[in-house]
């Protein structure tokens, strides 16, 4: 459990906070509130009941606090008491925090009020106590009893943070010119106070600048396995080693918060909720529920399917297309029975391991805590692996009856820490053998091996590449001066962007979403300095590489043309021409090849519409004769082929006309009844009207093509 927290934010809302200074477009209060909101929403976002906070307004128009009977505590009002802060509180605070009409109210007094609040709330319980004061330091401040107050804070274990608008901070490099002497005096007072109570004192500019720095959440390490690292079988052999170990995550992907689905509550008609005023925004949504129904195929039923009750269903699996049902008594029959273990299989050479075989996140294996002998034993193994340049391969089961994994255990020894790094290795089934030709030579059809080819780099190109790569070497070392990668400086863009967007929207529901802070894209581009240095080498590489972008138009057909010959290069078209029947009529059972061949051999413009016409007839017949959806996939394929060919032959109108007439016929149920399912399939298969984006010759706009498919 995380520690309980009690934080009081004291916000100076004095009239002078409403001013704008030093070229800032926002008022001092708005500026300071960026910091306060960030802190508050961060606490809210944790969603912990025990993370409590309160907000106190200083130099407010009104006075409302426990000590208000004493006039020195006037103009201080408690806006919210300590407690978990929720959305309604945020809205209340947002409305309440406005510059007041007064400049009176003592900041030191407000600290006393806050201390009182914390002590009343937390009593003697274990809490992380904190007071944050943001002010521009222009109000009246009385130094009476300030030392006792500081002592009290230390005694009560309350952390004090004072942030001032345009406060001087030589360390950060902020110095306000022409500073008001009264403010300068206050700054001195506050800074001494902060020092006396061992608190922090700083200028607002620095605090705001640091807001963009993503906060990395620390997760308490929890073991995912506790057991024996074994070598050999202790049940059977007395020569087996057993070392008690524990396993913890080394890396674990931090996912962004997940969104759930909602719809507008019925009755709230349309309109963006952002357009509505903030309050009640959350109430206009209602959650979306999933409901599942089950169907089985039944040729005799209309539509070929019937609904079945969930209660009539048994659990099972598919073996190929056969359904295998598993009775409830055998529920775990397909599960391999295993016991938790970490068993060494053998050892491999580090230089015989390919780093890309890492399949998962990584864990560490350390000795059982508080077990000195285990620590000694495991360390001897870790050192042995290290010295021999070995990795260990082991079989691991983290919990009883979980599937076994094969893992790599790599020794990791530094001055600070020693452990085995564990990562999953692929099983035989996890390796897909896709084959690719070699990159350093070309095998020709005739079986010759060629080392000079347009797909291979020339000596010049290789040289230019070598120089460029050398010139783009990054300089990045860890604390010990070892080669490293900038992992610690890279932050998950999605995680931090969504978290900050949610927090921002909670406070400012009407603002558009913010652009991501620069730090998240720090590694999106190479360092400009590096780019400058390597420019000449890049230019050389570009000229030697002679890479040409393929114009989008020629991507498809033309370039494949050259491959339309068998390996021997035989002219099959000539053979096709010898079959007179083929040049006239497309046979329905061999429609796609014959359609393509007819187009490719077309010697006159008329041949194309004729081929299309034959194809259309074939398609319509297939639709008409289709039992249920039996022929639909075939129809989609034919339509898709026709569409692609007619785009290539720049005859989009022929296709579009056909599709329009097909739609008519389907709507009027002229093709053997209800064929809406086919229409849905065509839509999903993206074989719609050919629009202008796809073909210059088309007269159909993108929108028109889209609308054509939309349900009316």
């Amino acid at each position: 459990m995380a520690e309980k927290e009690a934080t009081v934010y004291i916000v100076d809302v004095g009239r002078s906070m409403g001013g704008r200074h030093h070229g800032r477009s926002v008022t001092d209060l708005e500026w300071a509130m960026q910091y306060v909101w960030d802190k508050i929403t961060c606490t809210v976002g944790n969603g912990r009941k025990t993370a409590t906070l309160a907000v106190v307004a200083l130099r407010s128009d009104e006075t409302s606090n426990e000590l208000s009977e004493d006039p020195s505590y006037s103009r201080i009002s408690v806006l919210s008491n300590l407690g978990q802060c929720l959305m309604p509180d945020i809205r209340k605070l947002r409305d309440a925090i406005k510059p007041s009409n007064t400049n009176r109210g003592d900041a030191i007094s407000s600290i006393v009020v806050a201390t009182q609040m914390i002590n009343q709330f937390t009593r003697t319980l274990k809490y992380k106590r904190k007071i944050v004061l943001v002010t521009n330091g222009t109000g009246p401040m009385s130094g009476d009893g300030i030392e006792e107050i500081a002592k009290k804070l230390v005694k009560d274990n309350i952390e004090m943070v004072i942030l001032g608008v345009d406060f001087d901070d030589p360390e950060y490099g902020v110095k306000e010119e022409d500073k008001d002497p009264h403010k300068a005096q206050n700054e001195k007072l506050l800074s001494e106070f902060a020092e006396n109570c061992q608190g922090q004192y700083g200028t607002m500019e620095q605090a705001i600048a640091e807001l963009d720095m993503p906060r990395v959440k620390l997760v308490k390490p929890l073991p995912s396995f506790k057991g024996m690292l074994r070598l050999g079988d202790p049940q059977k052999y007395d020569s087996a080693i057993q070392i008690p170990v524990e396993r913890y995550s080394r890396t674990y992907v931090a996912h962004p918060p997940s969104a759930s689905s909602f719809v507008l509550r019925s009755g709230t008609t349309g309109g963006e909720p952002e357009g509505e005023s903030g309050p009640g925004q959350g109430d206009t949504l209602t959650s979306v529920r999933l409901s599942r129904t089950y169907q089985v195929e039944d040729a005799s039923a209309p539509g070929g399917k019937v609904d079945v009750e969930r209660d009539d269903l048994a659990k099972g699996y598919e073996y190929g297309r056969t359904a295998v049902h598993i009775s409830s008594t055998d529920e775990n029959i397909t599960r391999l029975e295993t016991s938790a273990c970490l068993d060494l299989i053998g050892f491999i050479r580090q230089d015989h391991y390919d780093r890309y075989l890492h399949m998962s996140n990584t864990n560490i294996i350390i000795p059982e805590r508080m077990n000195d002998k285990a620590s000694l034993a495991l360390s001897s193994l870790t050192h042995a692996l290290w010295e021999q340049s070995y990795y260990a391969v082991a079989r691991m089961v983290t919990k009883e009856n979980r599937p076994p994994m094969v893992v790599l255990l790599a020794p990791s020894i530094t001055a600070e820490y020693e452990c085995l790094i564990e990562v999953q290795l692929p099983f035989a089934e996890d390796v897909r053998s896709y084959r690719f030709p070699p990159l350093d030579k070309v095998n020709t059809v005739s079986g010759k091996v060629v080392t000079e080819h347009r797909n291979l780099p020339s000596e010049d190109l290789q040289k230019a590449m070598d120089d460029y790569v050398d010139s783009m070497e990054m300089d990045y070392k860890d604390e010990l001066g070892n080669d490293a990668l900038p992992i610690d400086d890279s932050f998950s863009p999605l995680l931090h962007r969504i978290e900050s967007a949610v927090r921002h929207r909670a406070v400012h529901p009407n603002d558009p979403v913010l652009e991501p802070p620069e730090i998240l894209a720090k590694f999106a581009q190479p360092d400009p300095e590096l780019v400058r240095q390597s420019k000449q080498f890049l230019d050389e590489l570009v000229s030697k590489a002679d890479v040409k972008k393929v114009p989008p138009k020629t991507k498809g057909r033309k370039r494949q043309r050259e491959t339309e010959k068998p390996l021997s290069g035989l002219d099959v078209d000539a053979l096709l021409n010898q079959e007179p029947e083929r040049s006239k009529r497309i046979s329905p059972e061999n429609a796609i090849p014959e359609f393509k061949q007819m187009l490719s051999r077309a010697d006159s413009i008329e041949a194309i519409p004729d081929a299309v016409k034959q194809m259309c007839t074939i398609i319509e017949t297939q639709v008409r004769n289709s039992l249920g959806n039996a022929n639909y996939d075939r129809v989609v394929e034919e339509m898709g082929t026709m569409r692609g060919e007619l785009v290539d032959y720049e005859e989009p109108a022929l296709y579009n006309d056909f599709l329009r007439s097909l739609k008519e016929k389907i709507l009027r149920e002229e093709l053997g009844g209800d064929r809406r399912e086919l229409w849905w399939l065509l839509r999903r298969s993206r074989v719609g009207l050919i629009d202008q984006n796809t073909s210059d010759r088309s007269e159909v706009s993108e929108q028109e093509a889209k609308d054509f498919f939309s349900p009316t």
């Binding site: 689905s261 863009p493 040409k548 090849p593």
Partner: protein, 656 residues
């Protein structure tokens, strides 16, 4: 349907096998066409006296088909497979469906397994013919009449057209030892080339698995070079110069080696290449891009999820679930477009419009942008979060991509460097920082490529993904102790001192399908699973025994000197057998003063619990004892005391 092929990774929006531009569904259909001739049926005896046995090419081919069928049920449950025998005396082609009324449209073509997702019965039938000679003899009778190849090809054409319309990948695997079927008949020959062209235009790829005869080397130039095309038009992602290397892997030799090389060659083509992303620019510097495709060569294979089976009909049927979304308050169905996303925050929902949600997730279009180079050694062994992606150049968008990629890969290989890249694999994918490392080509013993040459992209963890290391007391071992352990580890190197994934099938995945197969085929459920990941205990004992004992003695000694009586130890490191019991009792006689938990020594704990079990008083033991005992045996230690007692008793009962 295409949508069924969307595979979602846990918590990760990684889609695989989705082609956004094509109307085709991303599935694969493989039809085996196996030549049944007397030479194909002649058994070839083994030359190896240690492994006697004879195998005919035809039966090797059938075994391969059976093997592939079984494998695809596990790895590609949506893909189709079929087996067509040609040159047989008898003929069979959908007569039961009556679609082709003229009975013998394809004489001497025997469609043994129709092209479909295999059913249990089909698996059984294929196994019978592959493994049972008598069964095989019923069908494998060569006809006297030579079957025209044009007929075989058109027969395949019809099977693909009707059974696998709209598949992105359709492949015809021809297994034959006849390199010139129509040497004497010119018209048959030209008809065959025309039918082959039809297949090409249909988008069917022909893959030839040639078998050389003992006295004659298969020569593709005689006939098959007219039949086979460089790439099928639908396979737009194959590099333009990729030749199907028909002549590199001609199977030859005796039956067993023939089977092995055929298996290896078919395995390597068992799955069609499917890309993870296509034509993504690889940006080497500002305004200098080439194009690459991405593939998943390593991907954790999980058993298919369980489904619901309807038992109301004659045969069990899979029930298809249909999910509808409805509003909580009105229970009305809602359209996708009405749905908006909201995040829980401060007890309420903070919502975004769909456009805003998209904008939040958008970090630019797909790119692999090199931001610099570093030595490979800069990549820490722990810096990993998931499997890598493999990339290979394509000339589709940029001509010259291949030579530039090749130059880069060779430079990185030579200097052992990596490129640090900013990686957005697909539209709307989240960017990450990744290490791009060069990969060398690797081939197996049969010369078939195992790992292709290219580059691997390894996504790096962000600072947010790194966990803190928990503290523990470190104890530096002495040089002697380390050396003693080196003696142990040095004895136990794996073959070739490297990890070969092929040797370790996933035991739980195999068991799952083994059981399903037994249930589906109505066979006896096997009792013991085969688990190749289990260490070879006997060998470990044999090879390392003396060294382990030496290490153990040294360890005990050092532990005693270093920690003395105050050592916080709990368990023995070496469990001694009965004859050494006295020795370990010596340990126990010197009980640690600072006890972490209630007891000192695992051996004595084992004994105590065993005694309790024999007396039937396990229930009287304390919870910490039960827990430690169960944990040390790899059993779950969760639950109430009664559960733990049950489990302990079960443990001993199993052992008896």
């Amino acid at each position: 349907m295409a949508e069924d092929n969307y595979t979602w990774e846990e918590g990760d929006f990684e889609e695989e096998d989705v082609d956004e531009t094509s109307f085709r569904s991303v599935k694969d259909a493989v039809l085996f066409a196996i030549d049944v001739s007397s030479s194909m049926l002649t058994p070839r005896p083994s030359n190896d006296p240690k492994k006697p046995g004879a195998e005919s090419p035809a039966s090797a081919a059938l075994k391969c088909a059976y093997h592939l069928m079984q494998q695809r049920i596990i790895s590609n449950p949506n893909d189709m497979i079929g087996v067509l025998l040609y040159g047989t005396e008898s003929s069979k082609f959908y007569e039961e469906y009556g679609e082709n009324r003229e009975d013998l449209s394809y004489p001497h073509c025997y469609l043994f397994t129709d092209l479909d997702i295999p059913s249990a019965d089909e698996v059984k039938a294929l196994r019978a013919v592959a493994e049972d000679e008598e069964e095989a003899n019923k069908i494998l009778q060569p006809s006297n009449e030579r079957v025209p190849m044009s007929n075989v090809l058109f027969c395949a054409n019809q099977i693909f057209t009707s059974k696998a319309p709209n598949f992105l990948s359709r492949r015809l695997f021809i297994v034959t030892d006849n390199d010139n079927p129509h040497a004497d008949n010119k018209s048959f020959r030209s008809a065959s080339t025309v039918r082959a062209r039809d297949l090409y235009d249909l988008g069917v790829t022909i893959e030839l698995f040639p078998i050389s005869r003992p006295d004659h080397v298969f020569d593709t130039s005689k006939f098959y070079d007219d039949i086979i095309y460089k790439t099928a038009p639908s396979d737009g992602e194959a590099p333009a110069y990729l030749h199907p290397d028909t002549n590199t892997s001609t199977a030859k030799g005796d039956g067993i080696s023939l089977l092995n090389s055929l298996l290896s060659s078919i395995n390597s083509r068992s799955v069609p290449r499917r890309s993870l992303f296509t034509n993504v620019p690889l940006e080497l510097g500002p305004d200098f891009k080439i194009s690459v495709n991405g593939y998943l060569l390593l991907k954790k294979q999980e058993p298919a999820r369980s489904c619901y089976v309807w038992l109301g009909g004659e045969t069990p049927q899979i029930a298809k679930g249909i999910t509808t979304q409805m509003a909580e308050d009105t229970a009305q169905t809602v359209e996708k477009s009405e749905i908006r996303k909201a995040y829980k925050f401060g007890g309420e929902q903070v919502s975004f419009t769909t456009e805003e949600q998209q904008a939040l997730r958008y970090f630019g279009s797909p790119i692999i942008r090199i931001i610099g180079f570093r030595p490979l050694s800069a990549l820490p062994i722990w810096a990993n979060v998931k499997h890598p992606s493999f990339i290979y150049p394509t000339e589709e968008d940029y001509i010259g991509s291949t030579r530039v990629f090749s130059a880069l890969q060779q430079k990185l290989l030579k200097d052992q460097k990596l490129a640090l890249v900013w990686f957005i694999p697909r539209k709307n994918a989240t960017p990450c920082l990744a290490a791009m490392i060069p990969g060398e080509e690797k081939v197996d013993d049969n010369g078939v490529q195992k790992i292709p040459p290219g580059m691997w992209i390894i996504p790096l963890p962000f600072a947010d993904d790194i966990r803190q290391n928990p503290d523990y007391p470190r104890h530096e071992p002495s040089e002697d102790l380390i050396d003693a352990m080196r003696d142990v580890t040095g004895q136990l190197e794996l073959p070739k001192k490297s990890y070969d994934a092929q040797k370790y099938p996933n035991p739980s995945l195999q068991w799952h399908y083994r059981i399903l197969q037994a249930l589906a085929l109505d066979e006896d459920v096997p009792e013991t699973p085969e688990d190749k990941t289990t260490p070879k205990y006997r060998q470990i004992d044999k090879r390392a025994r003396d060294y382990v004992l030496a290490w153990s003695d040294l360890l005990n000694e050092e532990a005693k000197t270093a920690f003395g009586g105050t050592a916080a130890t709990k368990s023995t490191l070496v469990k001694r057998g009965p004859k050494d019991r006295a020795d370990s009792a010596g340990d126990a006689a010197d009980p640690p003063k600072k006890r972490v938990k209630t007891e000192g020594d695992a051996a004595s704990l084992d004994d105590e619990i065993k005694r309790s079990f024999e007396k039937g008083t396990v229930a009287k033991l304390t919870m910490p004892m039960l827990k430690e005992f169960l944990t040390s045996k790899g059993r779950s230690a969760a639950g109430k005391k009664a559960d733990l007692v049950d489990r302990v008793e079960q443990y001993f009962e199993q052992k008896l």
